[in-house]
Amino acid sequence: MTIPISDHSLSLKSIEEINTLSGESVKVCMQCATCTGMCPMAEEMDFSPRKVMHFVQFGLMEKLMDINTYWKCASCHACSVQCPRGIDIAKVMEALRQKVLRKSKNYIEPSQMSKEAIAEMPQIALVAGFRKFTS
């Protein structure tokens, strides 16, 4: 996979923003892919957690805004507890979600959900899901 890097695609400011939002330092990632190996949702992601960490290290925000990885993250922390560099990767995924949500863009629309699903699902599913997927 080749991703062209140019002044247009690379945003140094966004690296700082992700670090500030997550409270982590993405530069310490050494690309070992333990996170991808631990992730229960990796198969459903168009880019693995390791690749996303790499994109973040290069500040490729335009690319990052267009992928599903952090929307498929279940915040299960399987990656975070095993990262040999001690990065809480779940927090980096949350920072990426928040970058989108804070522009008032929703990943799912509650009004589009079926009444049956809402009636059946436990409250914690709805509260957790709306907090992760809506602004």
Binding site: S22, P40, Q123, A125, G129, F133
Partner: protein
């Protein structure tokens, strides 16, 4: 003995089967359960962004409610509530800047500094009741039940709030051994069930949940036990649909651990509200002849 108890939203409605069986079991074991007053939703998930303090207000408020009642411990049961309350508590204990901001924001409340201990029901059972006493109270041993203790994510991760270290499932395993069941350790006990991703996937197409069920079945688990209403929804209530869509090979009845605790203590099975579980869950317990009606 009296304890302060935080049930959480789901346990009062769709997961009554988790709550009522839990409270009745503790009462049968001689514990007086006092629900904290004016509790509110814990927020379900811990805020992971460093600048988001407003979502910490809900769990902290519950901890303040417990403190107002003079408690030093707050016992809770739902895995997600436990995780959210325990993490907010850690933050209030260890981060003086955030603690000060939250205390000043909630100026109508007493100041809080993280001095309540958030305790999961399983830890409480071990520390305050003890497995020997529990064993002596068993009326209906769960003989021949090959049970898999399913912890999922939020009982163990992140490690600073885990009820026991990663890869250890002794609390629930020892409880089931005390109840006479045969514990089957299986390799998906701490794998995520898909959690809130159920909102973004089609019914019965949650692959993460299917992995847990298939792994459990393959490794000899006859029934699964959980302490989380979202895990129970993904693994239990969605099971028929997963089977219809060919995602899982065989059915593995799924229970709240408190339902099986109440059954083993010989409590009226009506208290366990098995009608809220998948239909096959009740059938297995009837086949095993465990159920007692008042």
């Amino acid at each position: 003995m009296k304890i302060s108890y935080y049930p959480g939203c789901t346990l009062k409605t769709k997961a009554k089967n988790l709550d009522i069986a839990a409270v009745a079991s503790l009462e049968a074991l001689g514990v007086e359960v006092e629900e904290i007053e004016r509790w509110n939703c814990c927020g379900a998930v811990h805020s992971l962004t460093a600048d988001d303090l407003i979502h910490q207000v809900a769990p902290v408020r519950n901890l303040i409610r417990a403190k107002e009642m003079g408690a030093d411990k707050l016992v809770t049961l739902c895995s997600m509530c436990y995780n959210t309350l325990a993490r907010a508590n850690e933050m209030m204990k260890n981060d003086p800047v955030k603690r000060d901001t939250i205390n000043r924001f909630m100026d109508e409340e007493i100041d809080y500094n993280g001095d309540i201990e958030v305790v999961h029901y399983l830890s409480f059972l071990k520390e305050e009741i003890g497995w020997e006493k529990l064993k002596s109270q068993v009326k209906v041993p769960l003989t021949d039940l090959k049970i898999g203790s399913y912890y999922g994510c939020t009982l163990q991760r992140p490690t600073e709030v885990g009820i026991e270290p990663l890869g250890h499932f002794e609390l629930m395993n020892d409880m089931f051994t005390s109840l006479g069941a045969e514990v089957v350790e299986f390799s998906a006990a701490a794998k995520c069930c898909g959690s809130y991703q159920v909102l973004s996937s089609l019914p019965g197409e949650n692959n993460a949940a299917a992995v847990v069920i298939n792994t459990a079945a393959k490794e000899g688990v006859e029934a699964l036990a959980t302490s989380c209403p979202l895990c129970e929804y993904n693994l239990g209530k969605q099971q028929q649909q997963m089977q219809d869509k060919g995602k899982i090979e065989q059915n593995v009845p799924t229970y709240y651990f408190t339902q099986l605790l109440a059954v083993a203590l010989g409590l009226d099975s009506q208290l366990c509200h098995f009608e809220l579980n998948d239909k096959k869950s009740l059938a297995l317990l009837e086949d095993k002849n465990y159920l007692v009606a008042a």
